[in-house]
């Protein structure tokens, strides 16, 4: 095993966007200097600032292991989870801003209302293909059937993809990567029969057809969900649906 070494310290400079509706009409940056350990993440630095320097700094966090999705923010212009952004990867002043494309409530806290509404709109729950009482046991689902949708079920709802997506930034009515991916996750689940119901919501102008496959969402996603792939796959099924309905005699929806 490695010999005992002391934890290396490091002086970190953070440039943090502040906004308090009680006192400010605009946002402004504030510089903090704080001693950290080299192995820390940006969240640790923010917590140290709040505990020792400025208790009025506000941000969300909880699990510190990239699974709860609370701590999304822009770090040097990239959407990241602050609990999973390592100081060792940064030099110089680190710029910390609230997650892009969402209104700022206060400091680094954004208002996620639009995302929450869109998530609900896509009907992200099993609409069973065939109903079955639990007394009859589980729906059989092979490992291969599970793999068909499992990747898309990993979304932690952190909204980094919404911050990365330029379409969402320019067209706020876009349903967006994570919500649309949730529809796809259920469409791909062998137990579900609700694809056509969801298509009415997702195969629309504000749905998948707003997407131009920039792919920034999948780059930003910390849970390897690859939302871009889900949206492109839904575009294909949407196209096939349209062809069947409009061009094939006797083809029904």
């Amino acid at each position: 095993m490695t010999q005992v070494t002391q934890l290396k310290e490091r002086l970190v400079q953070l440039e943090v966007l502040r906004y308090n509706p009680d006192t400010d009409t605009e946002a402004h940056f504030q510089r903090y200097e704080v001693t950290c350990y080299e192995e820390w993440v940006v969240l640790d630095a923010l917590n140290k600032v709040k505990a020792d320097i400025d208790p009025t700094l506000n941000f969300r966090w909880s699990c510190h292991m990239a699974v709860c999705g609370s701590c999304g923010m822009m770090i040097n212009g990239e959407p990241k989870l602050s609990c999973h952004t390592f100081l060792r990867d940064y030099e110089g002043v680190i710029r910390v801003e609230p997650l892009a494309h969402f209104p700022i409530e206060r400091d680094l806290v954004t208002a996620p209302d639009d995302f929450m509404e869109k998530l609900k709109r896509v009907k992200p729950y099993i609409i069973p293909k065939e109903k079955k009482p639990i007394s009859e046991g589980e729906y059989k689902q092979t490992p291969a059937q599970l793999m068909k949708f499992r990747q898309y079920s990993m979304c932690i709802n952190c909204m980094l993809c919404y911050a990365a997506c330029p379409e969402y930034g320019l067209s706020p009515s876009f349903i967006g990567p994570a919500a649309l991916t949730m529809a796809h996750r259920y469409n791909q689940d062998s137990r579900d029969g609700g694809r056509m119901e969801r298509q009415e919501v997702v195969a629309t102008h504000e749905g998948v057809w707003e997407c131009t496959f920039v792919g920034a969402c999948s780059e930003a996603c910390p849970a390897h969900v690859d939302p871009a792939s889900a949206l492109q796959q839904m575009k294909i099924t949407s196209s096939i649906d349209w062809i069947v309905e409009h061009l094939i005699p006797g083809g029904k929806k």
């Binding site: 095993m1 490695t2 005992v4 070494t5 002391q6 934890l7 308090n20 009680d22 192995e39 709040k50 505990a51 020792d52 208790p55 009025t56 506000n58 941000f59 969300r60 966090w61 909880s62 699990c63 510190h64 292991m65 990239a66 699974v67 709860c68 999705g69 609370s70 409530e105 206060r106 400091d107 806290v109 996620p112 929450m116 998530l119 609900k120 009907k123 992200p124 729950y125 099993i126 079955k132 639990i134 046991g137 589980e138 729906y139 059989k140 689902q141 092979t142 490992p143 059937q145 599970l146 499992r150 079920s153 990993m154 979304c155 932690i156 709802n157 259920y186 689940d189 137990r191 579900d192």
Partner: protein
């Protein structure tokens, strides 16, 4: 102050709260349900649970075996009528989750797969890779979205219960984004606010686990039960405290000291089983309290590995192979790589025991009812007691489902034929809460720093209420926490503005933690025996004559709480010996 009228108010939207909400909505779609949480539901700490949820499903398993494992694992402090109910309901709840879309891992034939877990005689832990809690939470949250009768109040912090006429009739909350107080007038209240592990400096718990739900009930007159039983999970990352699931050992990982010895065999969990072929209920699959205590002893003996984060032992998973690790333990691999820069495929990872779960909580009966009529509780914030003196891994996730559901059914029974509320009385209670908050804001002569007090509390808990406790240490702990509770009355806010004021929320959370910490220390001092996760160096034996009972702590304002005891319900399993050696029958 705004008043919102509802039928059932649920405080906490994690696994238990969401399950209760869905059960209410399904059983009676005309009920108005207010689901109140200080965080968005997907942030609830249920998401961090990794290993799985236990339920009897395979033909070689039985309810009796699950019952025996749980009662023995709890060192006979579990109420056996509750355990009986639990083991029967568990598989139904897990199947219901499967029907709602939970992506459980599967056997080749499409049936649900189960994995071995600590302290269990048979494989019965259902799992979804190593993110079971995450999938359970998201399945429940997404399922809840289809019920229009569930109205969510996200980022509302619950301040005080409204109690009148001897009944709980609602709660006063703060809307966090505006700082406004609002009242909920409800016919029944279900608390599902989670545990309080953040009172310790080093835990697997997220920032939000500050015991607010427990403190709410406690201050309203419901006793807290068995608070001294704090579970240390054996394998936590030594720097962040993040959880490395028990499944690491379930899949075959081994624990070794600095000499490469699998030391658990020296603590009654031998003989050594073959590497990579774990045997149920022995060696690395022993119960969490025994494994954590063994690691503590190894560290005391000087057999630990010294690292820059302190003394650790090693968890070795190399022999599992890259394919199995990527398939069954991908999150574990990622956590070790990111936070420790260790690749578990190539190297053993240093770990040490971390505070993880509180067996204690708001006292309820098997129907999830607290002694305060109209108030129900479920999940980690409650103590039925299912888990007794030590919880078996994978019982908690399913506990959320079983008792979340049960709390909903009990709430529905309770609200039949209730007399009308005395709104004037409830409004008066709410105004008291407003005054309390106003006082906190307007205080200018405060002498205490909030983060300073918090640090002192954490240091005290770490030093005096650890894995092994002594009379002297506990006395010091009791008086120090009591002192901190008094000093807390003079804490001052630096931020006095109204929008999303986390300085305020942290101050309120500190108040909750201090209340819960006092219950923990007082209960630990009074329990003069060693049982399960409560181990005393001065009373090393279990004492069934005096202490086969639950510690009940009652809030007395700023005074020291009152302690009394409640007998454990024993039905078919008289207290026996916990045998985790390889020769056990």
């Amino acid at each position: 102050m705004d008043t919102i009228s509802t039928d059932v108010a649920i405080i906490g939207a994690g696994g238990a709260g969401l399950r209760a909400a869905i059960a209410l909505a399904e059983t009676n779609p005309t009920l108005r349900i207010a689901l109140i949480s200080k965080v968005y539901p997907m942030r609830s700490h249920t998401c961090a649970a990794e290993g799985g949820a236990a339920g009897v499903i395979k033909p070689d398993d039985s309810f009796d075996l699950h019952f025996d494992d749980t009662v023995g694992g709890g060192d006979w402090l579990s109420d056996q009528d509750c355990v009986e109910y639990f083991v029967h309901e568990a598989p139904k709840e897990l199947l219901q989750l499967e029907h709602w879309g939970c992506p459980w891992n599967r056997e080749a034939d499409g049936s649900v797969a189960v994995r071995p877990f600590g302290g269990m005689k048979k494989k019965r832990t259902w799992f979804a890779a190593d993110k079971s809690g995450f999938h359970i939470l998201h399945t429940l949250f997404q399922t809840s979205l289809q019920f229009p009768s569930i109205t969510r109040y996200d980022e509302y912090y619950a301040l005080d219960l409204l109690v009148d006429d001897g009944r709980c009739q609602g709660v006063t909350v703060m809307e966090m984004r505006s700082g406004q107080l609002r009242q909920f007038h409800a016919k029944a209240v279900i608390i599902a606010g989670g545990g309080a592990g953040r009172m310790f400096p080093f835990s697997t718990n997220g920032a939000i686990k500050t015991g607010d739900g427990m403190a709410l009930a406690y201050r309203a007159g419901a006793p807290l039960k068995d608070m001294e039983f704090v579970q240390y999970h054996p394998t936590g990352l030594p720097n962040t405290g993040s959880l490395l699931t028990e499944a690491c050992r379930g899949e075959g990982g081994i624990l070794v000291n600095k000499n490469g010895r699998r030391f658990l065999q020296d603590y009654g969990m031998g003989p050594e089983t073959p590497v990579g072929k774990p045997q149920l209920k022995t060696m690395e699959l022993g119960p969490r309290d025994r494994v954590s205590q063994s690691i503590w002893h190894e560290i005391q003996k000087g057999n630990a590995v010294s690292t820059q984060w302190g003394d650790c032992v090693l968890l070795d998973m190399r022999h599992l192979g890259e394919k199995m690790i990527n398939e069954r333990l991908p999150l574990v691999r990622e956590l070790c790589a990111s936070y420790l820069q260790v690749d578990i495929v190539k190297d053993p990872v240093p770990i040490r025991p971390v505070v993880h779960y509180m067996m204690g909580g708001i006292s309820t009966n098997t129907k999830a009812a607290t002694p305060l009529p109209g108030l129900f509780a479920a999940g980690e914030c409650a103590c039925v007691s299912l888990n007794g003196a030590n919880r078996l891994g994978s019982n908690s996730l399913v506990e959320l489902l079983v008792f979340g559901h049960r709390a909903a059914l009990s709430a529905i029974e309770h609200i039949q034929g209730l007399p009308a509320a005395n709104t004037a009385a409830l409004n008066a209670r709410a105004e008291e809460t407003q005054a309390r908050i106003d006082d906190l804001f307007s205080r200018t002569d405060g002498t205490e720093s909030m983060s300073g007090l918090r640090k002192e509390m954490m240091d005290t808990m770490e030093k005096n209420v650890g894995i092994y406790r002594t009379e002297e240490g506990l006395q010091e702990g009791v008086s120090k926490i009591h002192e901190l509770r008094q000093r807390y009355q003079r804490v001052i806010l630096t931020d006095k503005t109204s929008v999303f004021n986390t300085d305020l929320f942290q101050a309120l959370e500190l108040g909750s933690m201090l209340d819960c910490a006092e219950a923990v220390t007082v209960g630990a001092l009074a329990r003069k025996e060693s049982r399960g996760s409560h181990q005393r160096l001065d009373y090393v034996e279990r004492d069934d004559k005096k202490f086969l009972c639950h510690t009940m702590v009652h809030h007395q304002g700023l005074d020291v709480p009152r302690v009394d005891y409640l007998d454990v319900v024993i039905t078919k399993s008289p207290p026996g010996v916990r045998d985790y050696s390889g020769d056990h029958k």
